[in-house]
């Protein structure tokens, strides 16, 4: 399980890792908005350089960043095909029977791809440098003001962190049940659609049974240790903003501001 996967946390100790999760979440949201402003390639270069700088500071291995793009290949090809058929602007580059490719289609696809690349890099900056639990803690802090509107911020954060904690266990369990069923002659790979659906059922039913058992055990353990949903709790980890966080937020805001101006002037 040691592959480099998009969204995985990379345990390193860099200035970016040490930033407050709240600052990182807000900065990510600001950057996402900035990326979607229509500034043309000039803006993308500025944003790209900033993001690249952050990735370098966080000591992200090049391979890790690239691996995040692999699942996107199919989507990019799909986008390109759609654009070729729908956008008929710019110069005609190629005409072959009914197929006509215009420069506008390529340019448009290129912009979208660049935006996607930037978005993935920004989110990688966040997820790869922040522990899942810190991330949920950050979300909880940020959702706190919504408590007034009866948004159960703490419960949401608790649910996310427990889900994150149990994902590897559930995957392991799935593998175990699959092997157990295979040894009893269930075929997951071949056969007609109907047989395949039946095979999947033989996996899902025990998986759910086990998951409910786990949930029951966990609820008991939490209750026995004094957890009461909605009740006041103290927190072991207390978040505090440091100078680095202010710097990050200032840079991100300045970038967003200049992108807004840029897109209006253009």
């Amino acid at each position: 399980m040691n592959r480099l996967v998009f969204g995985r946390y990379l345990p390193l100790d860099t200035p970016i890792h040490r930033l407050d999760p709240r600052a990182k979440i807000i900065a990510m949201l600001i950057m996402l908005v900035a990326i979607f402003l229509p500034t043309g390639y000039g803006g993308y270069i500025v944003l790209g350089l900033f993001i690249l700088g952050t990735l370098l500071l966080a000591k992200m291995p090049f391979k890790f960043v690239i691996s995040a793009f692999k699942p996107m290949t199919f989507m990019i090809i799909f986008l390109l095909i759609i654009n070729i058929f729908s956008i008929k602007e710019g110069r005609l580059l190629l005409a072959y029977g009914f197929l006509e490719i215009y420069s506008g289609a390529l340019l448009q696809t290129f912009y979208i791809v660049v935006r996607l690349f930037l978005m993935i890099m920004v989110t990688t900056c966040l997820t790869a440098t922040t522990k899942p639990l810190d991330l949920t803690l950050g979300i909880e802090y940020l959702l706190k003001p919504l408590k007034r509107f009866k948004v159960p911020a703490h419960e949401i954060a608790m649910m996310i962190s427990i889900a994150l904690r149990f994902i590897p266990l559930i995957i392991e369990e799935t593998m175990r049940i699959m092997n157990a069923q295979k040894s009893r002659g269930v075929d997951y790979e071949e056969g007609k659609l109907k047989d395949k659906i039946m095979a999947i059922l033989s996996l899902i039913v025990p998986l759910f049974a086990v998951a409910f058992q786990r949930a029951d055990d966990l609820a008991n353990a939490m209750e026995a240790r004094g957890y009461i949903p909605g009740h006041e709790r103290t927190r072991y980890k207390v978040l505090k903003y440091h100078s680095g966080d202010y710097i990050l937020l200032t840079i991100a805001s300045l970038l967003l501001g200049s992108m807004i101006v840029w897109s209006i002037v253009l």
């Binding site: 522990k131 899942p132 639990l133 962190s161 427990i162 994150l164 904690r165 590897p168 266990l169 786990r214 055990d217 966990l218 008991n220 353990a221 939490m222 209750e223 026995a224 240790r225 004094g226 957890y227 009461i228 009740h231 006041e232 709790r233 103290t234 927190r235 072991y236 980890k237 207390v238």
Partner: protein
């Protein structure tokens, strides 16, 4: 003083099938009690009742003189620590540190005091070098030790163990068994351990034998195993060491040791005297 008092306790999930009926016993502070019985004898249900996770149909449980009920349970939680069977399903935090902190957070311990408490109790269970490890990188025995630390951090008056060693490999079982023994010996903690590992009874002060939802025997370990057939009648084994003692007793040799090494010692000294 009697720390735990259970009186006429009855419970059933389904009206027609009683799980526990008329259970009564009392345990002194600082004692180590083992509850044994077959699967379906009602052991785990009894643990859940004692931890206040289930409410009895009839009867009463008193902890330190306070009856457990809907009004008192919230304030009593910290007094009753329970460790369950499955090491994975009770690990709530994402690291050892966070997991021990979970109970403290619920009991409103101020954040600034938590680190000290966490370090103390992690050291109790010899997990101080693993504080930042994730559960997936720990063995079953280590996870159970963390669970025990998490419970002890709340400073309970009773430690309940619901088959806490049954899912562990022999090494983990030995580690956790020794830890529990040490907690009883050194910290005078009141321990109530539910198990089907009959060997665990060797270190216990009292043994409660449950059979079909009723108390079959409640006695000192020494007394209970004097007559091996008594337990064998309901299909339970007795610890090897007591089996051996019973066999020697038939020849008029009365041994007193609770472990194999001690018994070997006694036996060769016996030879010398002849």
């Amino acid at each position: 003083m009697k720390l735990i008092e259970v009186k006429d306790l009855s419970f059933s999930y389904d009206e027609n099938i009683p799980v526990l009926s008329d259970i009564s016993f009392a345990l002194e502070e600082g004692t180590y009690t083992v509850i044994v019985g077959h699967n379906g004898s009602g052991k785990s249900t009894l643990a859940k009742l004692l931890a206040g996770l289930l409410a009895p149909n009839k009867g009463e449980i008193k902890i330190g003189g306070t009856a457990l009920n809907a009004d008192t349970i919230e304030s009593m939680r910290a007094h009753i620590g329970i460790v369950f069977q499955n090491p994975d399903n009770q690990f709530i935090g994402s690291t050892v540190r966070d997991d021990i902190a979970f109970g403290l957070e619920n009991h409103l311990v101020p954040s600034v005091k938590m680190d000290e408490i966490i370090n103390t109790y992690a050291a109790y269970v010899s997990m101080q070098d693993y504080l930042d490890k994730e559960p997936s990188s720990l063995s079953g025995g280590q996870k159970q030790r963390v669970a025990i630390a998490g419970v002890l951090a709340m400073q309970p008056s009773i430690l309940l163990l619901d088959e806490a060693t049954s899912m562990l490999d022999p090494k983990g079982r030995k580690e956790v068994g020794e830890l529990i023994h040490a907690l009883h010996q050194k910290k005078q903690l009141t321990i109530l351990s539910i198990t089907h590992d009959i060997e665990e009874t060797r270190f216990a002060d009292n043994v409660i034998v449950l059979n079909k939802g009723k108390i079959y025997r409640f006695a000192k370990a020494e007394k209970l195993f004097e007559n091996p057939d008594d337990l064998k009648n309901i299909g339970l084994d007795i610890p090897y060491i007591y089996e051996l003692r019973a066999k020697y007793a038939k020849y008029g040799i009365h041994l007193r040791s609770r472990d194999i090494e001690g018994m070997a010692e006694e036996l060769w000294q016996l030879n010398l005297k002849k």
